[in-house]
């Protein structure tokens, strides 16, 4: 498939925002239970604001995916059947609850944790909706693997926790090390599930063959003509156009940036207690996650490509 950058930025930006929101609510819960040091309201308010900005940027990016963005309002209609519709409903809901959580902290409301719990549920629901958009397309066997949902969830949480660690360095120094530890742990988990999905995808046997595509049961079939000499939607949308070597380089890049770099650098930056350094680690990790999401979308083989044997 040919990845759309609008989708890459949508899913990575809201993923970081959702992960950040979950980190905030978890921190507040553990603070109330006196398991970690309490954080000032500013930490939660700025954090919720940042989660809101990230998801708004993601929402903005998503419009560039649409051929007719002026009709985007129609896209919530089919929530009974379409995961895309469900995402369209869950995203504004999450944004509203993130805004409410930030506002509650600004006004020192007693209801912060109640609103936070709702925001956390909305965040989880949004992770599930976003991932299921890809996981439910059974024709793209790489997308419909059991790893897609955990990957989207864990990678969003990993980047959100790194960002939360940077915020701690600015507003709640006592929390830097515990949050960095959580960030490292979740990044490790994300690396494990992502490596597992790479291994799983290598072993995929395509369910469709050229034989089943044209219904001719012969061992040797060669395509002589695709029927036209120009390009078409079929030859553009479903092929990423990179060489195998180029794809290998991108895979190394995202493993290094999204997983290895934060695993090594986040503990070091956390010990320095420098918000700038930790934010820098987030930037590296986010860059890696952008490459990862591009790679995830590209590294999938659509059965329609069987009809375009000379393209791939």
């Amino acid at each position: 498939m040919r990845p759309a950058f609008s989708v890459v930025f949508l899913t990575t930006l809201i993923g970081a925002g959702q992960g950040l929101m979950l980190a905030l609510v978890l921190t507040e819960t553990l603070g109330r239970l006196e398991m970690v040091a309490p954080a000032p309201s500013r930490f939660y308010a700025v954090g919720a604001g940042l989660a809101l900005v990230l998801s708004a940027l993601g929402l903005f990016a998503s419009f560039f995916h649409l051929g007719r963005p002026e009709r985007a309002w129609r896209s919530a209609a089919m929530w009974r059947t379409s995961w895309l519709s469900r995402e369209v409903i869950a995203l504004p809901l999450f944004m509203a609850l993130a805004a409410a959580y930030g506002a509650a902290h600004l006004h020192h409301s007693r209801l912060t944790l109640v609103i936070g719990a709702h925001a956390a549920v909305a965040s989880l629901a949004l992770f599930y909706c976003t991932a299921m958009i890809y996981a439910c397309v059974k024709f793209l066997q790489e997308w419909s693997s059991p790893f897609t949902v955990p990957n989207f969830f864990l990678m969003g949480c990993a980047s959100g926790l790194t960002l939360a660690t940077a915020l701690c360095a600015a507003f709640a120094v006592a929390l830097v090390l515990p949050l960095a530890a959580a960030g490292v742990l979740v990044t490790m988990l994300a690396a494990v599930t992502r490596m597992a999905s790479l291994a799983h995808n290598r072993g995929i046997r395509p369910r469709s063959t050229l034989q089943s595509a044209i219904g001719v049961q012969a061992p040797v079939i060669r395509q002589v003509s695709q029927g036209f000499t120009g390009r078409s939607f079929n030859t553009i949308e479903f092929f990423h156009g990179r060489t195998p070597a180029g794809m290998r380089r991108l895979r190394i890049a995202f493993i290094a940036l999204a997983f290895m770099a934060p695993l090594v650098l986040l503990p070091l930056a956390a010990y320095s207690h420098s918000a700038t350094l930790i934010a820098l680690v987030f930037a590296l990790q986010y860059g890696g996650l952008v490459i990862e999401r591009w790679f995830f979308l590209a590294d999938s083989n659509h059965p329609q490509n069987l009809y375009y044997q000379n393209m791939a």
Partner: protein
Amino acid sequence: MTTKQLALVIDLNVCVGCHACVTSCKEWNTSGEAGALADLMPYGADPVGTFLNRVQTFEVGTYPETTTVHFPKSCLHCEDPPCVPVCPTGASYKRPEDGIVLVDYDKCIGCKYCAWACPYGVRELDAKQKVMKKCTLCVDRIYDQALPEADRKPACVMACPTNARLFGDVHDPESEVSRAIVERDGYALMPEWGTNPANHYLPRRITECDPPSPSSSSPP
């Protein structure tokens, strides 16, 4: 299963790959109320075009024992269309009265999700209008009372010089298409996905030469 399901049955045994169905489809569907099927830079070095029907050619077997198969492909109007439930706006739908799968071009937001969810690659985003287009079985033609009854068929069926394209109700066991499917082992594409395509294909038949060639006992 009792309601009507309109479909095409394509006879690969007589298709000669002339592309008359492609050009007649383009001509009819570029001239309708929905607006042109876009062609960008049609006379340039790198043209991009939107078509609802395409014909491809495959060589089956190893030389010299080969058969050429011309293979027309358009929307198969699946009985269980995977493109419909994924559509976020409801623009993509299957008509209950005749089973035609259609796109409401005024509701489509051009998100391309339905094209990802179609294993056959028969939906194309119009390069200019930026909405998803696909075969309509010439829905604006087959019910047109202003046309003589014999002309109320999809443009591709009308154009085919070898009568390789049959059109009718595959749920009516007495129809020409249903009989052709039964008598000539009509099959569906990619049955492994459970999409249950309404369109069927009739396979190539091995024709004995008469008289048989003395140099070879096997059929060509």
